[in-house]
C-alpha cells in the first residue's frame, strides 16, 4: 500500500503516536515518580532510590511478597504437571467430546469474580479454614487451563509415530515420555509454566476472596490494593515498577519460548 497520500500517511502516524502516548504516559509517570526523591507524589525533586530501599524494610510488603512467591511456585508446579498430562491425554485420544473441551476452557472464560465467590461459598460450606492453601487450590484451576492450552498448541504438530517407534524399540511408557515426548514439548511446558507463574503472581480477585480473614495470607496484589485504597505513597510507585518489570520479563520470555501463543 505504497500509494497513500502524504496527508493520509501523516494522519496514520499521528494516530499511532497518540495511541502510544495514551498507553505509555500513565506507566512512564509512575516509573519516573518511583525515582523521585521528595515525599510529594508529583513534584520532581531529584533522583533517588530511597523508595526502593524503604520497600526492603517494609515487613508487610516482604511477607506479602513471600506469600505470593509460595502461592505462585506451588500452584505453578501442580498446574504444570497436571496441565501437561491433561494436554497429552486429550491430544493423544483425539476423540474428546464438546463437554471436555468446555470443561478445559471454562476457567479462562468464567469471570474472575464469579469463580472467586463460587470458591468462597464452597470453601466455607466445607468449613475449610482459608489461607494460602485455598488460594493455591484456586489458582491451579485457571493455571491448569492456560498450561494445557499452551502445551496442546505445541502437540498439534507432534508426530505421534515417534512414540510408537519408541515403544516398538522396547521403551516403557515412562521412558518414552521422559526421553521422547518431553524433550519435544519442553519449550511449551516451560512457556506454560512461566505463563502460569506470572498469572498467579498477578492474580488479585480470586486470591482476595479465597484468602480468608487475617493478614497472614495477604499476597502482593492484595497488599497493593490495600495500599492504593489508603492513598498514594512513593513506595507504591517503586513496588509497582518492580512488579511490572518482573511480569513483563517473565511473559516476554514465555512468548519467546512459544512463539506467540499468548496474545492470540
Amino acid at each position: 500500500m505504497a500509494e497513500r497520500s502524504p496527508a493520509t500517511r501523516r494522519t496514520l502516524w499521528l494516530v499511532l503516536s497518540l495511541v502510544f502516548a495514551f498507553l505509555y504516559i500513565p506507566i512512564a509517570v509512575l516509573v519516573a515518580l518511583s525515582f523521585n526523591e521528595g515525599g510529594l507524589p508529583t513534584a520532581w525533586s531529584g533522583f533517588s532510590l530511597k523508595w526502593y530501599a524503604s520497600l526492603a524494610n517494609n515487613s508487610a510488603i516482604l511477607s506479602a511478597a513471600l506469600n505470593t512467591l509460595i502461592v505462585a511456585l506451588v500452584s505453578t508446579a501442580i498446574a504444570t504437571l497436571l496441565g501437561t498430562l491433561l494436554a497429552i491425554g486429550v491430544e493423544m485420544r483425539r476423540q474428546y467430546g464438546k463437554g471436555l473441551e468446555a470443561l478445559i476452557f471454562a476457567p479462562m472464560i468464567i469471570p474472575d469474580i464469579v469463580l472467586a465467590i463460587a470458591l468462597l461459598s464452597f470453601f466455607s460450606m466445607l468449613n475449610l479454614t482459608m489461607g494460602l492453601h485455598t488460594i493455591i487450590l484456586a489458582h491451579v484451576v485457571f493455571n491448569l487451563a492456560f498450561v494445557c492450552s499452551v502445551v496442546r498448541a505445541r502437540l498439534k504438530s507432534f508426530d505421534w509415530s515417534i512414540v510408537e517407534a519408541s515403544a516398538d524399540l522396547g521403551a516403557s511408557a515412562i521412558t518414552t515420555f521422559r526421553r521422547v515426548t518431553l524433550p519435544v514439548i519442553a519449550p511449551a511446558v516451560i512457556a506454560g509454566a512461566l505463563l502460569a507463574f506470572t498469572l498467579s503472581v498477578d492474580e488479585f480477585i480470586i486470591a482476595f476472596f479465597t484468602a480468608g480473614a487475617g493478614r497472614a495470607s495477604t499476597t502482593l496484589p492484595m497488599q497493593i490494593y490495600a495500599m492504593i485504597r489508603f492513598g498514594i505513597t512513593p513506595e507504591i510507585n517503586a513496588l509497582a515498577t518492580i512488579f511490572m518489570a518482573v511480569s513483563i520479563t517473565a511473559l516476554t520470555l514465555s512468548q519467546r519460548l512459544n512463539k506467540g501463543v499468548i496474545g492470540q
Partner: protein, 280 residues
C-alpha cells in the same frame, strides 16, 4: 489426565453449581443461609434500586466499549498500514502494557488524575490558576480506566482482520469509482466487523462485571454490579442475593456473546455480498 479433570470438577464445576443453587435459597435471619426454596432473590434483582445499578453499569461499560473500539480500530488500522516489518513491533508494544498488573495500570490513573497529578500540573503550567478540576472519583475516571485497561485487546482483535484484508479489494473499489470514505464504509468496515465485535464483547463483558476499577477510580462511592456482588458476599453477608446477582451478570454476558455470534454471522454474509461472493 484424570487428576486434572478431578481438580476442575471439584474446584470449578461443583462450586459454580453450588453457587447457582445458593441463589434459590433464602437468607438466614442472622446472615448465613436458610435452606428453603425461593425465587425472591431473582425478583430483587429487578427491584428499581438494583435495576438502576444494572443500567448504570451497562451505560458505563457501553461507553467504555464504544471509546475503546473507536481508538482501538484507528490504532489497528494505522498499524496495518505501517511498513510490514514494523507491524509486529508496533503490535508488541501495543500489547505490552496489558502484561503488567491490572491494579497497577489502574493505579497509574490515580497518579495521573489526582488533584496534584500530572494533568493538574500541566494546567497550572499553561497558566490556569483556578481550582484544580476534580477528575478522580468520577464516572469519567472509571471509563478512562476501563478503556485504558482493555484497549490493547481491541487493537489485537481489530488488527487480525485488517492485516488479512486483500489490498486489491480496496483498489478495485477505487477503480470502480468509490471514494475513500465509501470504500471504507462498504468494503473495509464490513470485512472487519468480526474483529470489532470480538474486541467490543471483550471490553463490555470485562467492564460490566468489574469491581476493582469502580472501587479505585470511582472512590468507593461508586457502585457497579461487580461492587454489588462484592458487597453482598463480603459486607452484607447476603450470599443468596449475591449469588443471584452473579447469575444475572452471567446471563448478561451470555446474551452479549450470543449477540456477537449472530452479528459475526450476518457480517460475514454481508461481507460476502459486498465483494460479490468471492471472499468472506
Amino acid at each position: 489426565m484424570a487428576p486434572a479433570l478431578v481438580w476442575l470438577t471439584a474446584l470449578m464445576v461443583v462450586p459454580c453449581a453450588l453457587m447457582l443453587a445458593l441463589a434459590f435459597f433464602r437468607r438466614g435471619i442472622y446472615g448465613g443461609i436458610d435452606y428453603t426454596f425461593t425465587l425472591e432473590n431473582f425478583g430483587l434483582v429487578f427491584d428499581p434500586l438494583y435495576a438502576s445499578i444494572f443500567l448504570k453499569s451497562a451505560r458505563i461499560a457501553g461507553t467504555a466499549t464504544l471509546i475503546a473500539v473507536v481508538i482501538g480500530y484507528a490504532a489497528a488500522y494505522a498499524i496495518s498500514a505501517a511498513p510490514r516489518r514494523w507491524q509486529p513491533v508496533f503490535l508488541f508494544f501495543a500489547v505490552l502494557p496489558f502484561w503488567s498488573n491490572y491494579l497497577i495500570r489502574t493505579y497509574a490513573w490515580i497518579v495521573l488524575l489526582n488533584r496534584e497529578g500530572l494533568i493538574t500540573q500541566l494546567l497550572r503550567w499553561s497558566g490556569y490558576t483556578g481550582e484544580p478540576p476534580s477528575m478522580l472519583y468520577t464516572e469519567g475516571a472509571v471509563i478512562a480506566g476501563l478503556v485504558y485497561n482493555y484497549l490493547p485487546f481491541v487493537i489485537l482483535a481489530c488488527y487480525a482482520p485488517l492485516s488479512r484484508l486483500n489490498p486489491e479489494l480496496a483498489e478495485a473499489s477505487r477503480d470502480l469509482g468509490a471514494s475513500a470514505a465509501t470504500t471504507f464504509r462498504r468494503v473495509i468496515l464490513p470485512l472487519t466487523v468480526p474483529g470489532i465485535a470480538a474486541g467490543a464483547v471483550f471490553v463490555f463483558v470485562l467492564s460490566i462485571g468489574n469491581f476493582v476499577t469502580p472501587a479505585l477510580l470511582g472512590g468507593g462511592r461508586f457502585q457497579m454490579i461487580g461492587n454489588l456482588v462484592y458487597d453482598q458476599f463480603l459486607t452484607a453477608n447476603d450470599w443468596p442475593f449475591g449469588a443471584a446477582l452473579a447469575m444475572a451478570l452471567i446471563a448478561i454476558m451470555l446474551l452479549v456473546l450470543m449477540a456477537q455470534a449472530l452479528a459475526a454471522d450476518r457480517a460475514s454474509g454481508r461481507a460476502a455480498q459486498a465483494v460479490g461472493g468471492t471472499d468472506g
